[in-house]
């Protein structure tokens, strides 16, 4: 590993073949007999997690079609249906499968809509962190010098503060700085940024390390000689070689992002109650913990845990499946 870290290490001799052939095959036929697919099929826990996650994502996506009620249409709420327990309890009522909250809002519908918000924020913040992290990592690793220094030192500073603290600060400051009218509108993008800012560093470090190795290889130098533009070299030649570890990290970070969003919303610096994520639902339900209305807080919590659990199980499998040492 020493030559990865040493910028002046001599170029390796075994670089005749450009390693782009390791790029993932995305064609269905190629995918069907790939190692990854085989490994996936032989891991029941990964299959189970993927199916459950797909089910959760689909029900969240089509929430307006599936949900028995639009939980945020105040006209649809009926107060005499408030505080109903789940269906299987003594006074449960159809169609309130998981009961209702204190305003007569159907918990199941609220969960479906809330999962939507949680999944969107999780996905968007991972994509944003990936975009920033990959770009900065490539630039830092490829160009080196002071560019590299500035980017990586900025990353060091971010890593010297706890993840959750940075996210809380960004979200709280941004919300406090905005005029009241914009707060609701921008709550989602603010959260995405708040979670993406502390998480890009990990991707940048991974990509930088590979970029530093790759740029010394002969195929990159050959590409330079025939004046291929730097961005093209970075995107087409270096980036594909770094994707394996990045993919594993991105999957695990997707779970972490959903958790962070839920934590922020639970603490009251995330999504507002009128467009709740799962975290907001848990925050609201937490107020009724001692009044016996356990279903208001328990079911959103279960949904949140299920989502994160599925993502982590897929991530664990992916890490083992893509780890060359374990093949």
């Amino acid at each position: 590993m020493a030559d990865i870290s040493h910028p002046d290490a001599p170029a390796r001799e075994d670089t005749a073949m450009p390693p782009t052939s390791r790029r993932f095959r995305l064609l269905p036929a190629a995918w069907a007999d790939s190692d990854l697919w085989f490994s996936f099929r032989s891991h029941p826990s990964a299959v189970f997690a993927a199916c459950l996650l797909a089910l959760i994502a689909l029900t969240a996506l089509f929430a307006p079609l599936i949900a028995p009620q639009n939980p945020y249409d105040l006209a649809a709420l009926e107060l005499w249906n408030a505080e109903l327990p789940p269906l299987w309890a003594e006074s449960g009522q159809w169609p309130y499968l998981l009961g209702t909250d204190t305003q007569g809002r159907d918990i199941l519908s609220a969960i479906l809509y809330g999962s939507r918000v949680s999944l969107v924020i999780g996905l968007a913040s991972v994509v944003a962190a990936l975009a920033v992290g990959l770009t900065l990592g490539l630039v830092a690793g490829y160009f080196g010098g002071w560019v590299d220094n500035i980017i990586m030192r900025a990353g060091d500073v971010l890593l010297s503060m706890p993840f959750i603290l940075i996210a809380i600060l960004i979200s709280a400051m941004a919300t406090a700085a905005l005029p009241a009218g914009l707060k609701g509108l921008l709550a989602l993008p603010i959260l995405v940024i708040a979670i993406a800012v502390p998480s890009w560093v990990q991707y940048a470090r991974t990509v930088r390390a590979s970029a530093m190795v790759e740029r010394r290889r002969e195929y990159v130098q050959a590409a330079r000689l025939i004046r291929v533009k730097p961005w093209r070299i970075m995107l087409h030649h270096i980036l594909p070689n770094t994707l394996t570890p990045v993919m594993v990290a991105a999957t695990l970070n997707f779970g972490l992002a959903i958790l962070s969003e839920a934590t922020l919303s639970f603490l009251g610096v995330g999504m507002p109650p009128d467009q709740p994520s799962l975290g907001t639902l848990i925050r609201v339900g937490n107020q009724y913990l001692f009044s016996g209305l356990w279903w208001i807080v328990v079911f959103p919590s279960v949904q949140l845990c299920l989502i994160v659990l599925c993502v982590n199980m897929i991530g664990d499998w992916l890490r083992d499946a893509l780890n060359p040492k374990l093949r």
């Binding site: 590993m1 020493a2 990865i4 870290s5 040493h6 990586m152 030192r153 060091d156 500073v157 010297s160 503060m161 706890p162 993840f163 959750i164 603290l165 809380i168 600060l169 709280a172 400051m173 406090a176 700085a177 470090r205 991974t206 930088r208 390390a209 590979s210 779970g255 958790l259 839920a262 934590t263 639970f266 603490l267 009251g268 610096v269 848990i282 937490n286 913990l289 001692f290 016996g292 356990w294 807080v297 328990v298 919590s301 949140l304 845990c305 994160v308 659990l309 993502v311 982590n312 199980m313 664990d316």
Partner: protein
């Protein structure tokens, strides 16, 4: 070694200066400090005088340096919300957080190490499989959800343990401890358990991985061949060699635990620094937020630096620059 020591310390100091810059920027440019401190009736002259007294008319660099100098002496100004000295406020809350984090760390070691050994030694058994699945569940449970579920089970349903507060505390000098009274200890159980869930799984996974490697080594095989009882091999000879990374992890995670304690403290209304911080966030009490940020980052950086230095002291190869830069891909 001395060169490495100086370099590492300088590095840590630079990082702290950058964090201080962030805290300073928040403090100085997020809302006007003068407007936050004066009351409604203050005249223009009062405001101008306060502005001068706070040194807000000086140049940027001067103000920043003054901020750093004050921060280094533990002076973070006056809380906007309750007009008290910020460091006193944090100092009052520190013991609560410290005890919570300490007990959570102890729980994570007491539970995590044996569980890790068991999953490694009996790794083909049903029990180990169940524990492995349990560890993924443990990582996936958000700490506030764990807290809520614990409250629901042990406070609301069973009524065994208190759900909020610190119980009775005893003052020893300026340190107020809840460890010496029965109600204080009872109040600590649920928050500490909920804070340690994640940490238990982390320790368990690490011990398992280390044990699996150690069990393959020659000295373990030799001990087996010599007829040393299995329990003695596993719990004494093998485990000892797995503890170094566990100690490192525990040390480095303390910073994270302090940060995550703010979630636990919110759930259990535990009167620690984290709850103070969350309340400060709600009221946009910037000096408290800045101080908390600096303090937690300081603990974070301090622990990381200590771990790095200890490692370099134990393993001379790490003092070499070229080897150190390799940390980038880890």
């Amino acid at each position: 070694m001395l060169a490495f020591l100086i370099k590492r310390t300088a590095n840590a100091a630079l990082v702290m200066l950058a964090v201080a810059l962030l805290a300073f920027l928040i403090f100085r440019f997020f809302g006007d400090p003068v407007e936050m401190m004066v009351n409604e009736q203050a005249t223009q002259a009062d405001r101008a005088e306060l502005r001068e007294r706070l040194g807000l008319n000086d140049g940027f660099a001067t103000q920043y340096l003054r901020f750093v100098a004050h921060a280094a002496q533990g002076d973070f100004g006056i809380s906007y919300r309750n007009q008290q000295d910020v460091m006193t406020l944090i100092g009052e809350r520190f013991p609560a957080t410290f005890e919570l984090v300490l007990v959570a760390t102890v729980i994570s070691l007491v539970l995590g190490i044996p569980l890790g050994v068991i999953t490694a030694v009996y790794r083909r058994s049903k029990l180990a499989d169940a524990l492995q699945i349990g560890s993924i569940v443990g990582v996936s449970l958000p700490s506030f959800v764990t807290g809520i579920l614990l409250i629901l089970a042990f406070s609301v349903s069973l009524g065994w343990l208190p759900a909020f507060g610190r119980g009775e505390t005893v003052d020893i000098g300026w340190w107020s401890t809840g460890l010496l009274t029965p109600s204080g200890r009872a109040a600590l159980v649920l928050p500490a358990l909920s804070l340690s869930t994640f940490q238990v799984t982390l320790v368990m996974r690490l011990v398992r991985a280390e044990m699996l490697e150690t069990l393959r080594t020659d000295y373990v095989k030799f001990a087996r061949a010599r007829g040393v009882p299995a329990a003695r091999i596993h719990w004494r000879h093998a485990l000892r060699n797995c503890l170094m990374p566990v100690i490192t992890l525990t040390g480095m995670q303390i910073g994270n635990l302090i940060a995550f304690a703010l979630v636990t403290e919110t759930v259990f209304q535990w009167p620690g620094m984290g709850l103070l911080f969350i309340q400060a966030v709600t009221f946009v009490d910037i000096p408290v937020m800045a101080a908390y940020l600096m303090l937690v980052s300081f603990i974070f950086v301090l622990l990381n630096t200590c771990v790095d230095i200890t490692y370099a002291w134990v393993d001379p190869r790490l003092r070499d620059d070229t080897a150190k830069a390799g940390g980038g891909n880890g």
